[in-house]
Subunit: 329 residues, 6 copies
Amino acid sequence: MNETPRYQPMDAMVYPRFSGIRTFMRLPHVTALEGVDFAIAGVPFDTGGTYRVGARFGPEGIRGASVLLRPYHPEHEIGIFDYCSGVDYGDLPVTPGYLPESHRQIEQAAAPLFQSSATPIFLGGDHSVSLPLLRAAAARYGPVALIQFDAHGDVWHGYFGGKDTHGTPFRRAIEEGLLDLSRSTQIGLRGSVYDANDIPLSRELGFQLITAVELHQMGIPAALDLIRRRTGNGPTYLTFDIDFVDPAYAPGTGTPEVGGFSGAHCLQLLRGLVGICFIGYDLVEVMPPYDPAGITSLLAANLVYEFIALEAVQRRNHEAQQHGSSQAP
Amino acid sequence: MNETPRYQPMDAMVYPRFSGIRTFMRLPHVTALEGVDFAIAGVPFDTGGTYRVGARFGPEGIRGASVLLRPYHPEHEIGIFDYCSGVDYGDLPVTPGYLPESHRQIEQAAAPLFQSSATPIFLGGDHSVSLPLLRAAAARYGPVALIQFDAHGDVWHGYFGGKDTHGTPFRRAIEEGLLDLSRSTQIGLRGSVYDANDIPLSRELGFQLITAVELHQMGIPAALDLIRRRTGNGPTYLTFDIDFVDPAYAPGTGTPEVGGFSGAHCLQLLRGLVGICFIGYDLVEVMPPYDPAGITSLLAANLVYEFIALEAVQRRNHEAQQHGSSQAP
Amino acid sequence: MNETPRYQPMDAMVYPRFSGIRTFMRLPHVTALEGVDFAIAGVPFDTGGTYRVGARFGPEGIRGASVLLRPYHPEHEIGIFDYCSGVDYGDLPVTPGYLPESHRQIEQAAAPLFQSSATPIFLGGDHSVSLPLLRAAAARYGPVALIQFDAHGDVWHGYFGGKDTHGTPFRRAIEEGLLDLSRSTQIGLRGSVYDANDIPLSRELGFQLITAVELHQMGIPAALDLIRRRTGNGPTYLTFDIDFVDPAYAPGTGTPEVGGFSGAHCLQLLRGLVGICFIGYDLVEVMPPYDPAGITSLLAANLVYEFIALEAVQRRNHEAQQHGSSQAP
Amino acid sequence: MNETPRYQPMDAMVYPRFSGIRTFMRLPHVTALEGVDFAIAGVPFDTGGTYRVGARFGPEGIRGASVLLRPYHPEHEIGIFDYCSGVDYGDLPVTPGYLPESHRQIEQAAAPLFQSSATPIFLGGDHSVSLPLLRAAAARYGPVALIQFDAHGDVWHGYFGGKDTHGTPFRRAIEEGLLDLSRSTQIGLRGSVYDANDIPLSRELGFQLITAVELHQMGIPAALDLIRRRTGNGPTYLTFDIDFVDPAYAPGTGTPEVGGFSGAHCLQLLRGLVGICFIGYDLVEVMPPYDPAGITSLLAANLVYEFIALEAVQRRNHEAQQHGSSQAP
Amino acid sequence: MNETPRYQPMDAMVYPRFSGIRTFMRLPHVTALEGVDFAIAGVPFDTGGTYRVGARFGPEGIRGASVLLRPYHPEHEIGIFDYCSGVDYGDLPVTPGYLPESHRQIEQAAAPLFQSSATPIFLGGDHSVSLPLLRAAAARYGPVALIQFDAHGDVWHGYFGGKDTHGTPFRRAIEEGLLDLSRSTQIGLRGSVYDANDIPLSRELGFQLITAVELHQMGIPAALDLIRRRTGNGPTYLTFDIDFVDPAYAPGTGTPEVGGFSGAHCLQLLRGLVGICFIGYDLVEVMPPYDPAGITSLLAANLVYEFIALEAVQRRNHEAQQHGSSQAP
Amino acid sequence: MNETPRYQPMDAMVYPRFSGIRTFMRLPHVTALEGVDFAIAGVPFDTGGTYRVGARFGPEGIRGASVLLRPYHPEHEIGIFDYCSGVDYGDLPVTPGYLPESHRQIEQAAAPLFQSSATPIFLGGDHSVSLPLLRAAAARYGPVALIQFDAHGDVWHGYFGGKDTHGTPFRRAIEEGLLDLSRSTQIGLRGSVYDANDIPLSRELGFQLITAVELHQMGIPAALDLIRRRTGNGPTYLTFDIDFVDPAYAPGTGTPEVGGFSGAHCLQLLRGLVGICFIGYDLVEVMPPYDPAGITSLLAANLVYEFIALEAVQRRNHEAQQHGSSQAP
């Protein structure tokens, strides 16, 4: 276990969890990245939304719900802040209503995060924001594996005349060579689609695809096995569209699809990804205006917490390896 | 595949799905039935409700959510409008507050739908509307099999002095000889009841009964097997009370019962009914005023979409058969 | 009184108001303009929104609430459809996420409405849509007077780098010569602003300005007097941003400002504009996701009804004049 | 001041107001009327509703909000329970879905209340319930004066074929001779109507009519003067449709009309009716499912409290008179 | 079957379920305990809440939803009121804002319930109320077994300086010797915690612990087997924190944790506890202000119904035993 | 005008208002007070609430809505940050469930704010928090004048046995000599009360009292005149209970009272207090869980903005005086 990390949450035994400024987990709001192991950054951009809009308030909603999170993860048996120093980096700048310009701003603002020693975790925003984030990731790591939890493939050619939307980011990412498709997986696709090619398209493009119906049938352990084998050890980016989850568990999203998964399913899936070499994460499409009971933001905050726990375990393992090798004669 | 159907939805690539008049799936609002394969018709009547009321706004709610539906069904691998022409027929006339008169109006207005070559799909309204709809169905087909998804049997003798309500339609239907009970099934019954006879009653009346507890235990494939064997090949009417679904997935209904089923369960069940000879469908008891996150209407719209897909497959099969026999030497 | 108009609402004595497809007032959905006196058209575009978004669902919300409207206006003592034939024209095409392209689409689609004998009434959408609508209006009429009910002047130079948003349409309109400022009025401005020039700016640009504080002080009759004298007899366009109204009466909007006006105030103001030569109207910034009790959409539908009544009175007056002159020897 | 009354609310200094069974004001639930000065009775019937329904939950909503009421009325300077003994009588029996039968049940169940020494105060339910209540009132008192607060006259001939609805009770009451029209007033009518006769109809039938626009113009003192002069000293029934109030103050109702009145207006109006000889009251059309913030039920509970205060003052005056005359030599 | 019980619900065939005063199940509100087999009592205290508050309205919410419950339980095949007489005892007195004083009040007011022949069922309030309830239980029975359904162990030493909260009652109960830990079980614990000791702590203190992850893995029958074996035949108290349930099914609670259980899971678990010797029950942490669709209160009412059914079966068994032994020669 | 202040909000032209960490007005979160002119501090304590609770989320709600505020106040014609440097100080520590301890914490934490050159503005929390805040104020200034906007006097002797609650702070403050009653005013009291002494009590204690009915009658200018004359030039504390406002404008509060005031009324009142020597402000009783449309938090944020504007004007006047005197020969 390393020394006390530089940045950790407010102490809930001194300041009750309902108090204080709503940063993620009430971590310090810091924009310098020295001594930071993970950084939460909002990307409040939703101009790419083709049905409902309002994901620009996603970061606010997730931060508000995140104050319920506590520092020890009992399933991974790890105290997050024994291994990680974490901050809330604030939000990346965007220009509402202007997608190309905003994508440039997001890519530029995300770059230092990917270049730093911190692992960035982004809170969307609509799914279009994954494209500039992947651009920034690939600038550091080259093509990365993608693990995409999503009800939709988001690999359309375009929409309304060849434009970018939240339905196209991964098509663009493939075209730009940002993804290592041989290591990438899409999971959770379901619902009615526009034509017969929509589902095969993901496979044709090179993704391993596990549809929702397939996942319901094979069960989570089998799916985890497929994902882990596919992903291997290289740098990997995880993108989680909250519409992977069933509307009963996550009504507050842009294009909800029935027949999805429960919160418990999500936890089991994310915990099963331990050991994969993640270099960044995003959680997108949370829309507080459509979430009257707040359960979407709450689940999203918990999923982000699972991302953080994956980071903590990764650092524990790394430390153990170093300790082991340093002890070697 | 037949030629371009006469009626299909607006093109979402030209008109975004959030735009336009809210017909079901943004189909044309047409009241002539020539060249129509399926017709959606609202039955905004809720005077039969014995607890909550408001199902008169069910058709509006379901239509509003239906704009999210797309034309290709990936599990049945079928483009709906490659095989079907569909319309929104509007609402049948009713007289709020006057049940017998409204039932007469509904039966009379539904008759031409059942008499036409289109398969009608009705959006309730409370469950009392199934009675006049079955009257209209039986006038064309004679006694029909009933597959009833429901938390309640709705076979009470009466309520408050022998009257019609949403708890009595199938008792009346049996008395009038509208049902072929030897081919009929009720599925999903659960919750506290008024007395010891309530559950046995369905069996005594002649239904095959699969209670919610039984369905949870046997699983969906076993239940589908029971239903399909029971139903056989004759004309069949499907009625789906949204309270079959658990309140977490469908809070917006009149007499919610805990311990129900998920959206994914419903999809699996309905998809498993492919090949049954349906001559009509209804989906009832959706109450938008009790549905703050809109998930009940969204699920209902998707269940109606499954009805439509069953129709499309039926027509594809029929076409294939005709094609096969015409090719025979 | 003229002969029976071609288009009028469904008869609520036959079809209860909660039934049927949700066109505005349950008018026929018609896209041919012959024999039409007023046409309601949605403009579901909200990419120009700088704070909350969701006005793309404004037309749906207003149409849903409009079924409560009845055909006789007791204060103007006029049966609307004794003098007017009206239709719901549906929605103009837009491309969500693409403002300049959408503005071109809107202008192009609005042009035939302004060129026809029908008076168009548009349902936004965010306030940016007024710019292409004014372009289409000016193409027919030349510079028009503007009467703008609004909590904000919407005359910023730009926002985030010179771009179009819902805060800039009237600056653009002035630059393009679409407005006759000598006849134009802004009314209702209030709330904190970005700098000292914001309020004077409207006056410097040439508007007659009546701020909210001034309106509270002078009272409605005095304000009507100012507006009527300013507007005169030329062609006039009325734009009503629902945030003119206080958030207690209209919470469902994009940038609500406290200290506004009541529904009764709005009715009195709009009724007092009778006799002005309106050539088009819009009502913008209604956001159903922020309107849990539905009162914003309800008020908006009623304000649109007041626009329609102004049209009906205008036609009655015109008829009376013609009748008078034709009777002259 | 008389001796301690038999029935009064739970003591909020011992049992906090959020605790206990939700009777009105936490009064004892008693169905014997001996020693009772006022009795609150629910009439949870809403089959007469022609647009929204759900007023059957009105009594529950009003009772829930009523726990905030305290026993001393500072404007009338009276301790309610110094002069009154009050109970919650529970709900009158009704048969949902069956209007004529329910009206018979209501009339029959209301009769003992009107025949007793207690003044009954009814919580609707839709406005159709006023008809059987007036029948029961007239059976005791003969034709009574009516003071009707309402956005709608509710004097239609019929609706959908001559039937009873919440739009017809007072037409029926007139036909049956239940009202002394020479002493009756309707106040608050507004909004669009079906035809030119709707507003004049109230006057032709014999009511004094004060429309909403007139009330806004003349002010409350002038209106009170008109009402008081008209009503005189005979037995009077007060019916208050919550849609008299503006939707901003009372969104939870069946046919909301914009341009109405505030809560403060209502209090001033009701307090100004002191001294009129009321023999019964009802408050109708509260619909909790459409009242997300609970303000409609809260206002309704306060208006009922004003009814109770009128009763208390009436009894204080009566006591003072008796005391005065008994002291006379 | 015994003679007609003294107290049972209103007859829903005479008084529709939406009518009448909201006692639990519309049972008589009675505070004498003679002839009573089970008594429902509210404990509207929430000063112990450390995150959200509002459980003081829990009893109101649960009572409101309970009117949907009917008297026959089809899975246990028992008519509740054939074996039980039940009442709504009202609420126990509390002093909001004063925890120690309220705990004294609660203990004192609960004592006569535990001393009587009735089995008490308490509706919280926050989980801190279980402590005084257990004190009252142990005063009658000595140390009791505890079966605790909960997402949290609630066995912290303290919070904010050694104080009582809803996170500490069972630690206090252990210290005071109120529990027979050798027979006690905690089930459902999950979510992030404050440190590594939180989960082991329950086991160290002596509880049998079944975490949520363990329960998801082993399944309900295995868990029931563990609980039943542990509990044995002695006096047992059941406490059910509604946060055992997943937020999708029960959003209206104080510290929701994702990854929980469905309503159907709860029913199966509670039904499997038949035969255990329960001497009291509580259901806590229901918060109506966070329950916009009312599904939390509805589920809670149904869980209380399962408690009642366990009581009825226990009494049926007891009767059968007595009958059997009395028949013995 | 002084030089650029040290602390001001994020620039909305660079970072859209929906982005970033939710401090008040997106001011820097700073806990050092050097160079600070006003400091916003949350007091998320609600254990003193006697009906609804949840004001602990008041600061979060107000901060969330405050991002809509802009830096220039057009009525006072002042750029706030031309004269003021402002920060969000975060929340004061509290212990939920423990009133006396929390009051000590609040007083202690507020002391450095009152001792500094910054003017503190507190966001409640329930009204009980005003007591420790006044203690801290009086420690610096001696007895201060109080201007209290409130529907309730909050001067009860006690509640449930002599304890502190949100209904007693000002009685305690008087007893402790914290107030200069000869300069103090209560305004807005209304609604039913517990007994005849409640309203006179405020006057007997020494307050100038303007009830809601009196304020409605006299109008705002007359009331302002009374307040200003009473207050004079000494140090003054302003406390604003949001229930001063009508529930239509502010439903999200603990003990709403109908018959209150509009947002426009509040603005006019607060703007009319310019020139009074305020040494601190609080705004209390905002409860987001009861505020589904967010209008209560929005209004509260705007009222706090008016406090800030009063500060800015005070500092401009002070500067002008200094400038004037320094220019004197």
